[in-house]
């Protein structure tokens, strides 16, 4: 079991327009913890920095400042090549994240071999079938030799999940894992992630813009707006009792069939330009804190180890 502590993460991109350069702060002092057996949902609009955080966590980007500390149960820090053995990612688009030239078996066997989970060919094959069965791709014997184009979107995403878990990862970063899938199979994939998470006590970061699934699928929700955390707390509290204007705007904007057509035009509009992302409401502390500044020391003590 593995825990991730993200502290004061900052990521600046430099943007060149003509001769001038300017700095875009994509992620501004974000701190969050991923603990075994808990799912944290990261919600926000496009450009809010969600995917940048995912990229930093999976070491595809280097942070400008801030730390990502990953530690095993006994406190041993995870470093170097061990890192990706522990932290793996499920990408948004299962049509792009699998190599069309390779069989399904190849996709899962690669991480097994690279991370030395298996030694002999027979052992690897057996393990691949095991992984496929775990993600409900059965019969595994007939799925393994197929190529990605022979599978449906939902099946491909299951392959991507199996691939992520193959190195024995204990931390899963799922970046919009169901937004490219048809609606009727989304719940199936989310249910699968939920089951694997419970079985393996995985720490999961679920990145999404869909508030409804964020609420039902996660324990904690972190709302990101323009690179800063503007609200965090237990899933139900954030959705049902939003404090920050941006969270209110999001909750209002999400489709909710219980509202009729008259609500579409009737409800008060929150002025987007007036939204202040320098403050953050923390439901765990029950108070407003500064956003975009180094995390207060006491803040973490209140959050870590919250029961699932």
């Amino acid at each position: 079991m593995t825990t991730v502590h993200v502290t004061d993460l900052v990521k600046d991109y430099s943007i060149r327009s003509g001769l001038r350069r300017r700095r875009l702060r994509a992620v501004d002092h974000v701190s969050l913890d991923l603990v075994p057996g808990r799912t944290v949902a990261l919600v926000g609009e496009s450009g809010s920095g969600k995917s940048t955080i995912a990229k930093i966590l999976t070491r595809m980007e280097k942070p400008t400042s801030g730390t990502v500390e990953v530690a095993l149960d006994d406190g041993t820090p995870v470093r170097g090549p061990m890192y990706l053995r522990q932290v793996q990612m499920v990408f948004q688009d299962p049509f792009a994240s699998l190599n069309p030239f390779h069989s399904i078996e190849h996709h899962i066997a690669r991480p097994l071999l690279i991370h030395e989970r298996t030694r002999t060919a027979a052992q690897t094959h057996e393990r691949v079938l095991e992984m496929l069965e775990r993600v409900n791709l059965t019969p595994a014997e007939t799925i393994a030799p197929r190529r990605p184009h022979e599978l449906s979107g939902g099946q491909r995403q299951r392959v991507a999940i199996a691939r992520a878990l193959a190195p024995g990862a204990q931390v899963l970063i799922a970046d919009e894992p169901v937004s490219m899938l048809d609606v009727s199979i989304r719940l199936g994939v989310l249910n699968l992630l939920g089951r694997l998470q419970r079985e393996d006590r995985l720490a999961v970061l679920y990145i999404t813009h869909d508030l409804a699934t964020a609420r039902h699928f996660s324990d904690e929700i972190v709302v990101l707006y323009r690179g800063r955390v503007v609200e965090r707390g237990p899933a139900d509290a954030v959705i049902l009792d939003p404090h920050h204007d941006y969270t209110k705007l999001l909750a209002q904007a999400a489709p909710d069939p219980e509202r009729g057509p008259e609500r579409v035009t009737a409800e008060a509009v929150i002025d987007r330009d007036a939204i202040d992302n320098s403050v953050c409401y923390d439901h765990f502390l029950g108070e407003w804190v500064q956003a975009g500044t180094p995390a207060a020391r006491g803040a973490r003590a209140g959050r870590a180890g919250q029961p699932a």
Binding site: L187, P255, E258
Partner: protein
């Protein structure tokens, strides 16, 4: 309005409902590939004046194909194999859409019925300004208009959809995704059509922007009383904004009912499955996801 439609409707379209602006009867569309694919199978629906009719379904169910058929946009290998599409003009005339000749079709499209395409953000011409694209439409369909009138009308539609008329001189790449979508909607309502077909108009947008645009569509509908055929896979969204919803599965309309009735108790198992795919935002916390895993649900995916 309804009384003017009723009299000729009796002669032209069989069983046209009072207040209908479009009647689709037993429409089938076949893609003549090997083997032929029937993308729409015997679809019948009526669009009423001023109504928002939702068309829900998953990818490949034929909802876009149906919309294209209503607009006569199909080219081989797609072929309208059977059925009738009747447009009931506000003046009382009925138009058999499938029988229109080339010139009549050009006059009919956009004038009576316009469409906001899927991925409308990319449907704008990148090398000309918004002004030129709006003016082009106006000059083609309203050749008598003066330059000043064209300009005034262009400004007017942009204002209606909530875009600053100063943006007329902008190129599409200078606008955000939401703004481009609004410009597309402005273009679709330029000639004050009686029907607007919107094919996934908000799918690529953020929820907040999506909400702003939906609000705009509903407000414009209330103001101008056009009918909207709204195509999307997002059933909760449809339940919220539409009057009636048609659910498509494998080319067939399996259920067509008012939004309230669907929400209260859908009769078709597929509709119930679709409804069950969306956890409720504000309702009971769904134990079905977190607690016991529904294995059958997983297997179907």
């Amino acid at each position: 309005m309804t009384s003017t439609v009723q009299a000729p409707a009796a002669t032209a379209a069989r069983g046209a409902t009072p207040g209908a602006v479009l009647t689709v009867e037993d429409l089938s569309v076949v893609y003549e590939v090997d083997p032929p694919v029937t993308a729409v199978r015997g679809a019948s629906l009526t669009l009423r004046r001023g109504e928002i009719l939702g068309l829900a379904g998953e990818s490949g169910c034929g909802k876009t194909t149906l919309a294209y058929a209503v607009n006569r946009l199909h080219r081989p290998p797609a072929r309208v194999a059977s059925g009738r599409i009747t447009f009931h003009d506000v003046g009382g005339d009925d138009v058999d859409v499938l029988a229109l000749g080339d010139r009549e079709l050009r006059a009919f499209r956009w004038n009576k019925l316009s469409m906001v395409f899927q991925g409308a953000m990319n449907a704008l011409n990148p090398v000309t300004t918004v002004r030129a694209q709006l003016a082009d439409t106006l000059r083609t369909h309203r050749p008598g208009l003066s330059r000043a009138a064209v300009h005034a009308r262009s400004r007017d539609v942009l204002e209606r959809v909530g875009v600053d008329p100063a943006r007329l001189t902008s190129y599409p790449h200078e606008l955000s995704g939401g703004m481009r979508q609004r410009v597309m909607i402005a273009m679709a309502m330029l000639l004050e059509p009686q029907i607007m077909i919107m094919d996934e108009p908000t799918t690529a947008l953020d929820v907040v922007v999506q909400r702003e645009i939906l609000r705009e569509i509903v407000r414009l509908r209330d103001e101008l009383d056009f009918a909207v055929m709204f195509i999307t896979h997002d059933l909760p969204l449809l339940l919220e904004i539409s009057n009636r919803i048609a659910v498509m599965l494998d080319g067939e309309i399996v259920e067509l009912d008012t939004a309230a009735n669907l929400l209260a108790g859908a009769s078709h198992p597929y509709t119930r499955k679709l409804l069950g795919s969306f956890p409720s935002l504000s309702g009971e916390r769904g134990g079905f996801i977190r607690s016991g895993v529904d294995e059958t649900e997983e297997d179907q995916a």
